[in-house]
Point group: C2
Chain length 293, copies 2
């Protein structure tokens, strides 16, 4: 069994990005600039945004954090989005989700100029990814593909079972894994809450990508010997031993599944660090105008 060290890979990629940014700056080019809008003070969102700002610093990017009150109206947020769309210094920006219930996430996502949509959530980027055109691929699926690539895991013709059909992980990673590319080119099965014979399906899988958000859903008796297991789950569960009062729990019962695997990602330290890393890669691409001019 080989542990996939997302933290180490992410650090390596951030170093690669930092080197490229240093070269860009030295050549008199523009410093990539990521802006983030954070509404309110949700603990999880605060943490994620702080990590993103820190990653920007590590990569040599300029970053701007825009804080807005919990009671910001949809109209006010859309005005801010419009302002960032028009701000020529901002190469890409994100609106940290989830949003307060009185604001339509979909409306906000669609208001973002797709050429600055480094989260890859805008329909234009989703559609272009599906068709196989250059685009901003959303961060988690991109991070998973990068891990598979860096560990040189063979995917061609393999059977990959994706657990979960969310718009931000399950669906896009299924698309990427089935596309004619390396990594990719796998036979892909998408399973979800309505799937019958889920266990039998998992037992056939050469690669399992678990993105259900159900803590320790995948047990040892659902995994075949030698499988590759990618755990995307990050549910916060109460923990008495943690200072914060909670710990992150994956979708995989790690202790019993790991011994059967050829490769497995831990939680934390697997897919998580790669997600922010992918956002940095998209920001670099946006700064270089490598996808959209």
């Amino acid at each position: 069994m080989k542990l996939i060290d997302g933290k180490a890979v992410a650090a390596q990629i951030k170093q690669e990005i930092a080197d490229e940014v240093a070269a860009i700056k030295e050549a008199g080019g523009k410093t990539p600039h990521l802006a983030a809008i954070l509404i309110g003070h949700d603990g999880g969102s605060e943490t994620y945004v702080a990590h993103k700002v820190k990653a920007c610093n590590e990569c040599g990017f300029k970053s701007t954090l825009i804080r807005m009150d919990e009671d910001t109206t949809e109209e006010q947020l859309l005005e801010m989005v419009d302002k960032l769309n028009k701000d020529e210094d901002v190469d890409g920006f994100i609106v940290q989700l989830p949003l307060p219930k009185h604001i339509s996430e979909q409306k906000v996502i669609e208001a973002i100029d797709y050429r600055k949509d480094v989260d890859g959530f805008h329909p234009v980027n989703v559609g272009r990814m599906s068709i196989g055109l250059p685009c901003f691929v959303s961060a988690t699926p991109a991070g998973i593909m990068e891990l598979i690539k860096r560990y040189d895991i063979d995917t061609k013709g393999k059977h990959c079972v994706v657990l979960g059909r969310s718009n931000i992980v399950g669906k896009p990673v299924a698309t990427l894994m089935s596309q004619k590319a390396t990594p990719g080119n796998a036979t892909v099965t998408i399973c979800h809450s309505a799937s019958a014979n889920l266990k039998e399906m998992c037992l056939q899988a050469d690669i399992i990508i678990a993105a259900l958000g159900v803590p320790e859903f995948l047990k040892a008796d659902m995994v075949k010997e030698g499988a590759v297991v990618i755990d995307v789950g990050t549910t916060r569960v109460p923990s008495e031993t943690s200072k914060t009062g909670f710990r992150l729990c994956g979708d995989v019962k790690f202790d019993e599944v790991a011994p059967k695997c050829s490769y497995i990602t831990p939680v934390p330290g697997g897919v998580g660090p790669m997600t922010i890393c992918s956002l940095m890669k998209n920001t670099l691409l946006a700064g270089k105008k490598a996808i959209y001019s």
Copy 2:
């Protein structure tokens, strides 16, 4: 075994559309208007476009066929697309594919205003479909879903194997079959040219959607007893008994597969007629501004 009669269902839907259009006209509403651009004189394209114009007449739509020479430049075609984008009387339009090799299909597709893209090929429509938002769903996948719906075939939790990963059939139909909807909600496996153990995968399927474009690829020994088989193949093969010199051949070896099936679509007369029907439905939606205002 029950034969799925796409011709009959298509006729019924066109009648439903015609009734609605008659009511719209009676109420003083606008007659839906579909335009089609046809470049050159490819035999297949001529036939398809003629069928579409005929279907418009049956539905009570206004239709406009714009013929352009084989040596039309990309720029000239893009100008025509722009003209139709701006023409307020045209509710939707299509550019008949394939295009001559000197014109980029993707560039032309992206130049079409997505609000008039009744073929559903524009990235905005592809992305919105993937996310599960209202959009123009491309004609063949929409037609397949409609057939499944009208025959009241249970798909929830079933295993659906899609053979083929094309942008216009395989990928979108896989997305639709896996979405939380009725029909839909199936466990979906996407197979393609690189898939290993394709036969074993097909043998597990409750529903097979064959969209490889390989004549008679699916044999009886690849299908389990009681399966539903949807044949999307329409390869032209030479035929001495046909007046035209060819016949349409599906991806399924019909004679040997049919006896094992609970439901099966024939070729021709299965998915084919539904495809044009879906285009008519999209045109009606465009005319009513039911998706985009």
